[in-house]
C-alpha cells in the first residue's frame, strides 16, 4: 500500500470540504482496503466518514430510510425491514459473509467495484482500472461477465446483491453534494452502463456523499424471493441472481418486479417481463413465458452462453418461490 493520511470526521459538511482529488471516503472498508492492497486505488488521504453519516433505519411515512452507514447485517436483521421489505433482507443475506456484512455499509455496498478478475489484476489491461488500456475479459475468461448492456470496452458485472433488491423495489439514493446541496437519484439511474467510460461506475456527483437510501412503500412484502446461483453454496459471487416480487390478488398478478445481478454492469431490471406478468395468473406456465422474454435480450460472450439457460431457470424458480413463502 502507498502511504496515506487518515482523517476522521464527524460532520458530513466537514467531509465535503475536505474531499478533493486523491482524497477517498472510507466507511466499512471491505472493498476499498482490498483495492488499496492491490494497488488499484491509491489515495493520498482517507477520510473516515463512519461517524459522519447516519446509520439508523427509519420509517418515513410508508417508506423506509436506511442511513448510509447502516451495516449490512443491521439492514438484514431489522424488524421493520424483515416485515415490510423482506426482499432486501434476503438479498443482503445472499451476499458476502457474516463478518463482511457486519463491516460493510449500505452506501459502500452501492459503491463497491466490480470483481472482474482482470480489474483485480494490475498486470492486465482493464479500461475500468486504466482507461484506454483495453478490456482483457471481452475475449478472455468471461464466464462470470455480463450478458446484457456491456460494451467492447467493458464486460464487468456489478457484484452487489443488495443493489439488485434495491433496483427491484425502485429505491432512491439520497446524496449530499460538494455544493452542500441535497439531491435524490432514482436507483435505476444511479449505476451506469460501461459504454466507453467504464471507469465510471455510477452517477454519484464528484466528491458527493450518499447519506441514505429510501425505499418507497410497496406491496411486495408477502411474495418475494431472492435466488442466487453460484459455484459454491455461500460466500461467492453470483453467476446469476434474481430478485423477484409479486403483488397477488388470489392467483392473479397485480404487479411484479424482476431484477438480476451477475448479468450487467448494473443491477438489471426486466421491465418487459414485469409488464408481461401484470394481469396474468401466477402459474408455472406464466413464469416460463416471462423467463423466455427475459433471455431473448441476452447476448452472451465466448464463455458465458450458459447464463441464458441459467437465468431462465433462475427466473422461473424465483417466481415460483414467491408463491411458497
Amino acid at each position: 500500500m502507498k502511504p496515506f493520511d487518515l482523517i476522521k470526521t464527524t460532520d458530513p459538511k466537514h467531509a465535503l470540504l475536505q474531499k478533493k482529488e486523491q482524497v477517498q471516503y472510507i466507511a466499512g472498508g471491505t472493498n476499498l482496503v482490498d483495492l488499496m492492497k492491490k494497488n488499484i486505488q491509491v489515495p493520498d488521504t482517507l477520510l473516515d466518514v463512519t461517524e459522519a453519516l447516519g446509520h439508523r433505519i427509519d420509517k418515513q411515512g410508508k417508506a423506509v430510510q436506511i442511513g448510509a452507514m447502516a451495516r449490512n447485517t443491521t439492514v438484514a436483521t431489522d424488524a421493520m425491514i424483515l416485515r415490510d421489505f423482506p426482499l432486501i433482507a434476503k438479498a443482503v443475506l445472499a451476499g458476502a459473509s457474516p463478518q463482511i456484512r457486519n463491516m460493510a455499509s449500505t452506501a459502500g455496498n452501492l459503491l463497491q467495484r466490480t470483481r472482474c478478475p482482470y480489474f483485480y489484476d494490475v498486470t492486465t489491461a482493464c479500461n475500468k482500472r486504466k482507461p484506454g488500456s483495453g478490456c482483457s475479459a471481452y475475449e478472455g475468461q468471461n464466464r462470470m461477465s455480463a450478458v446484457v448492456g456491456y460494451s467492447t470496452d467493458c464486460v464487468a458485472v456489478h457484484p452487489s446483491d443488495l443493489c439488485v433488491g434495491l433496483a427491484a423495489l425502485d429505491a432512491e439514493v439520497h446524496v449530499f453534494g460538494k455544493d452542500q446541496k441535497k439531491s435524490v437519484i432514482p436507483f435505476e439511474e444511479f449505476h451506469r452502463l460501461p459504454g466507453n467510460t467504464p471507469h465510471l461506475d455510477n452517477n454519484l456527483p464528484e466528491h458527493a456523499l450518499i447519506t441514505s437510501i429510501e425505499i418507497p412503500e410497496n406491496p411486495f412484502d408477502k411474495n418475494c424471493a431472492y435466488l442466487k446461483v453460484r459455484d459454491r453454496d455461500s460466500y461467492s459471487f453470483a453467476l446469476v441472481s434474481v430478485a423477484a416480487a409479486l403483488h397477488l390478488d388470489g392467483d392473479r398478478i397485480i404487479d411484479a418486479r424482476l431484477a438480476s445481478g451477475g448479468v450487467a454492469h448494473k443491477p438489471w431490471r426486466w421491465r418487459d417481463a414485469e409488464q408481461f406478468l401484470r394481469g396474468k395468473s401466477a402459474t408455472a406456465a406464466t413464469f416460463g413465458e416471462a423467463a423466455r422474454l427475459i433471455v431473448g435480450d441476452l447476448k452472451p460472450l465466448t464463455h458465458n452462453g450458459f447464463k441464458i439457460d441459467m437465468l431462465k431457470g433462475a427466473v422461473e424458480t424465483a417466481l415460483g418461490q414467491c408463491l411458497h413463502v
Binding site: R232, D233, G313, T317
Partner: protein
C-alpha cells in the same frame, strides 16, 4: 496383545496439541518472535516467458526502511548454484535469483527486505522491470494433442485380445488444475546464527527434507541447519518440497545479515508451492456379458513446467484395484509456461481413479449390472494384481458392503433420471479408491524425567493429521503411563529423524518407532530396576507395566520399583531411549494397501444446474485406527476436498495473456461449510497383520481418491447426463 483391540477409556477427549490450537498459542512458522527481524516481500514477473532486461531498484530503495533487495544481479553467494551444472545437479527446480530467464508469469525475480511488512510491500510495488518477451503456451487443452504418449509401466496381456469384447466403454476425461491452498500461506523465517549455522522456522511437511535440500546449497552440514515446524497450517502436499521462497529467504538473511521473514501472498501460493496438474485421460474398458473385466487401456497426460518435469503418475492406480488380465498404460508430460506442479492429496491416483471409476460406472449401465456388483466381481481382493503378492490385508469389499448399507443403496431406484422432487433430480453414485500403503524408516525417542512424565519425540511434522496424538496414544498403550503424563515434541530437526509427513505414511511410519522406543524405555528402566529388585532382570517388555509412580511386573503389579528409588539408586535425573523402525522383509512377502468406498446422494436442480450433495458416506480400511476421532476427521476432510475437486476447484488461466486469473480465494473456490453435508465416516478397523507393529495403515489419501467419481456418478444417476470433465460447475450441468 495387539494394539487398540479394546476400547480404551483413558484416551483423552482431545488432541495433544488441542489447547495450543484453540487458544491460538501454538506458533506457526511466521509467528515466532525473532530479534532484529525484518520482512521480505517477493516481486513476481508480470510476463510468462522471456528474460529480464533490466531491474531498476531506484524507487524501491527510496522507501525508508528498505534494508536490501535481492535480485539475480545482487545476491549473496550460493555455492550450490555456482555453475549451471551445479544448479542442474541440485535438482532444486527453479534456480531463484540465478537466472534472467522467465519461465512463467509470477516467477519471483526480486525480494525486497525492509524494517516493516508495510514498507517491504510498498517498496516491492516500486521495483521496475524491463523484459525481453518470448513466446509462450499455457493452454493444456491446446498443447496436449501434440505430445505423444509413451509406455507407462509394463503391459499385461495383450490389448488386441479384448478390443472387440461384447461390452466396451471408451471415453475421455479432463480435470482442471487444482491448487492445494492450505489455509496457512507458506512462510519462512531464516536466521544465520553464525557463518556456518542456520535456523529456519519454515512451513514444511518435512523438517529433515529442508535440511537435506538447503545444506548442500550453502556447503553446510545438515546438522548445522535447525528447522522448526511445530505447527503446520495444512499441507496436502504443498509442503513436501522446498520451494524457491525458502531459499530466497535464506539468501535474504545472508544479504542483509539479519533474520528475515517471508510469508507468501495468496496469489503467490498459486505459483510458488505447486498444484495438481491439469490432466487428460482416455479409458478403454472391456467386459464380457457377465461383467468380468477383460482389459483396460488407460492413457493419461499431465501438464508440467518448462524447468522441471513432474509426472503425476496417473495410471499407477489402474494397476492396483481390479483384476485386469490385459492392461496397457501410457502417459505423457505436457510442458507449459507454468510454475512447477507437485503432489497434491491422493496424487495421481485421485486423477486416475476418477476416470476409471466413471468408466466402470458407465459400463455397469451398459451391462445392466449394478455398479456395486460390477465392482465387487472384479476387485482384486486377495492379491496385488501387478506384482501378484498376497495383500497383507484388503477389506475393500467390506467397505463397499458397509457403505451401500449406510446410504441405502438398494432402496434407490436404479434407473437414471427417475427420482424427482419438484425441480430437483435425485441420484446415487458410488466409487472406490485405493492407495499403496507405505511405511518409511523413522526414529523416535522417549525421555522420562524425574516425576515419571515422558516426552515422546520425533522430527516428523503433524500437519493436522493427528500424528502427535497418535504417538501419545501408542506410547500410553505400550507403556501404561497415563495419558496426562505424556507429552509430545515434534516438527524439529533436532529431534530423532523422520521422513516427511506425506503419502499417508506418517502414522504407519512413526507408530513402529514409538512402539520400539516404548519397549526400549521399558527395558532400560527394567535394567535399572533390576539393581533394586532382581525380578526385573532379563524380562521382556511385554512383562512390564509402567505407571505414574514406577515400574511393575504385569503379572504382579505389586512388584514395583518406584521411579524415585530408581533415580536415587542409579544417580539419574532422566532416561532417554531412541529407536528406529522401518519396513523390512514383509515388503517382499506381501502387498499393502489402504482403501475406501465412497457413496453419494445428490440433488440436481434442473433449472439452475445447482448440485447439492445430500449425503456422502465414506467407509475406509486403514488398518488399526489409532485415534478414531482424528482419523474420522481426516476422512471427512478428504471427502470435502473431493467435493471441491468434483464441483468447483479450477485454477483458471488466460491462455492469451499466459497467466493465472482469479488467483485468490474468491476466484478459486473450494468448499465452504455450506457445500458439505455432515459426512458419514466409518472404518473397518481391523489391524493389518504385517505393515508395522500397530497394524495402522495410512488414511489421508484414500479419503479423496474416488470421492469425485462417486459424485459424478451420482449426477449421472440423477440426470442421465454423463459429465466427464471436472469441475462439474452448474453451467456444465445445464449444458
Amino acid at each position: 496383545m495387539r494394539f487398540f483391540d479394546k476400547q480404551n477409556k483413558e484416551i483423552p477427549e482431545g488432541r495433544v496439541e488441542a489447547v495450543d490450537k484453540v487458544t491460538g498459542s501454538g506458533k506457526f512458522a511466521a509467528e515466532y518472535k525473532v530479534d532484529n527481524l525484518c520482512y521480505g516481500v517477493l516481486v513476481d514477473s508480470t510476463i510468462p516467458s522471456g528474460s529480464i532486461r533490466n531491474i531498476d531498484l531506484t524507487k524501491a530503495k527510496q522507501v525508508k526502511g528498505v534494508v536490501g533487495i535481492v535480485t539475480h544481479l545482487q545476491k549473496p553467494n550460493v555455492p550450490g548454484f555456482a555453475t549451471e551444472d551445479l544448479i542442474k545437479q541440485s535438482r532444486f527446480g527453479l534456480p531463484i535469483f540465478h537466472t534472467d530467464k522467465i519461465h512463467f508469469k509470477g516467477q519471483p525475480i526480486a525480494l525486497v527486505i525492509a524494517e516493516t511488512l508495510e514498507d517491504a510491500t510498498y517498496a516491492a510495488t516500486l521495483v521496475e522491470v524491463e523484459y525481453n518477451t518470448g513466446g509462450f503456451q499455457v493452454d493444456f487443452d491446446a498443447a496436449h494433442p501434440k505430445i505423444p504418449l509413451r509406455e507407462a509401466g509394463k503391459e499385461r496381456g495383450q490389448i488386441d485380445s479384448w478390443s472387440n469384447a461384447p461390452y466396451v466403454m471408451e471415453a475421455e476425461y479432463n480435470i482442471k488444475s487444482e491448487v492445494h491452498n492450505p489455509m496457512e500461506m507458506h512462510a519462512t523465517i531464516a536466521e544465520w546464527t553464525s557463518d556456518r549455522h542456520l535456523k529456519l522456522h519454515d512451513k514444511t511437511q518435512g523438517v529433515n527434507n529442508v535440511q537435506q535440500v538447503i545444506a548442500p546449497l550453502f556447503n553446510l552440514q545438515k546438522e548445522n541447519i535447525e528447522v522448526v515446524s511445530e505447527f503446520v497450517g495444512g499441507g496436502f502436499g504443498s509442503g513436501l518440497r522446498v520451494w524457491p521462497h525458502v531459499l530466497a529467504t535464506v539468501m535474504a538473511a545472508k544479504h542483509v545479515n539479519r533474520p528475515v521473514k517471508v510469508m507468501l501472498t495468496r496469489p503467490q501460493m498459486f505459483t510458488g508451492t505447486g498444484y495438481r496438474p491439469a490432466s487428460w485421460q482416455k479409458i478403454k474398458l472391456g467386459a464380457d456379458a457377465s461383467g468380468k473385466f477383460l482389459g483396460i487401456h488407460h492413457q493419461a497426460k499431465n501438464e508440467t513446467s518448462l524447468y522441471e518435469r513432474f509426472s503425476d503418475q496417473i495410471t499407477r492406480v489402474t494397476r492396483l484395484i481390479y483384476n485386469f488380465d490385459n492392461l496397457k498404460t501410457e502417459d505423457a508430460l505436457v510442458p507449459l509456461n507454468l510454475s512447477a506442479a507437485t503432489w497434491m492429496r491422493g496424487p495421481g491416483d485421485c486423477t486416475g481413479d476418477f476416470a476409471i471409476e466413471c468408466a466402470i460406472d458407465e459400463l455397469s449401465y451398459k451391462l445392466k449390472i449394478d455398479p456395486v456388483a460390477l465392482r465387487t466381481k472384479n476387485i482384486a481382493a486377495t492379491h496385488h494384481p501387478d506384482n501378484k503378492l498376497p495383500w497383507s490385508s484388503n477389506y475393500l469389499l467390506e467397505c463397499i458392503n458397509e457403505g451401500a448399507k449406510r446410504i441405502g443403496w438398494n432402496d434407490r431406484n436404479p434407473i437414471p433420471n427417475a427420482m424427482k422432487d419438484g425441480d430437483w433430480q435425485i441420484g446415487y453414485g458410488m466409487s472406490v479408491g485405493m492407495w499403496n500403503a507405505g511405511r518409511n524408516k523413522t526414529s523416535a525417542a522417549i525421555k522420562m524425567v524425574r516425576d515419571g512424565r515422558i516426552i515422546v519425540q520425533t522430527a516428523m511434522t503433524d500437519i493436522g493429521t493427528g500424528t502427535g496424538t497418535g504417538m501419545k496414544n501408542i506410547a500410553h498403550e505400550m507403556t501404561g503411563i497415563p495419558q496426562d503424563k505424556i507429552t509430545v515434541e515434534l516438527g524439529n530437526s533436532n529431534l530423532p529423524p523422520a521422513p516427511s509427513q506425506g503419502g499417508s505414511t506418517g502414522m504407519s511410519s512413526v507408530s513402529g518407532a514409538v512402539v520400539d522406543a516404548s519397549n526400549a524405555l521399558k527395558l532400560k528402566l527394567a535394567e535399572y530396576a533390576a539393581l533394586i529388585n532382581i525380578n526385573f532382570k532379563n524380562i521382556s517388555p511385554d512383562d512390564i507395566h509402567l505407571s505414574e509412580k514406577g515400574i511393575s511386573l504385569k503379572k504382579n503389579l505389586d512388584e514395583t520399583v518406584t521411579y524415585a528409588d530408581l533415580w536415587e539408586k542409579n544417580k539419574l535425573d532422566s532416561v532417554v531411549v531412541e529407536a528406529t523402525s522401518g519396513p523390512g522383509e514383509e515388503r517382499k512377502k506381501y502387498a499393502f494397501c489402504s482403501s475406501a468406498a465412497h457413496f453419494c446422494q445428490v440433488r440436481v436442480n434442473v433449472k439452475t444446474g445447482k448440485v447439492k450433495i445430500e449425503k456422502l458416506v465414506c467407509v475406509a480400511d486403514g488398518g488399526t485406527i489409532v485415534n478414531e476421532k482424528a482419523a474420522a476427521n481426516q476422512m471427512s476432510g478428504a471427502a470435502v476436498g473431493g467435493i471441491g475437486m468434483a464441483l468447483m476447484e479450477e485454477k483458471l488461466l488466460d491462455a492469451k495473456l499466459g497467466g493465472l486469473i482469479g488467483d485468490d480465494l474468491a476466484g478459486y473456490h473450494f468448499p465452504v461449510n455450506a457445500d458439505a453435508p455432515i459426512i458419514d465416516v466409518s472404518f473397518i478397523s481391523k489391524p493389518d497383520p504385517h505393515i508395522n507393529p500397530t497394524g495402522a495403515k495410512g488414511l489421508g489419501e484414500v479419503g479423496i481418491i474416488g470421492t469425485a467419481a462417486a459424485i459424478a456418478n451420482a449426477i449421472y444417476h440423477a440426470t442421465g447426463k454423463r459429465l466427464r470433465n471436472l469441475p462439474i460447475t452448474p453451467d456444465k450441468v445445464l449444458g
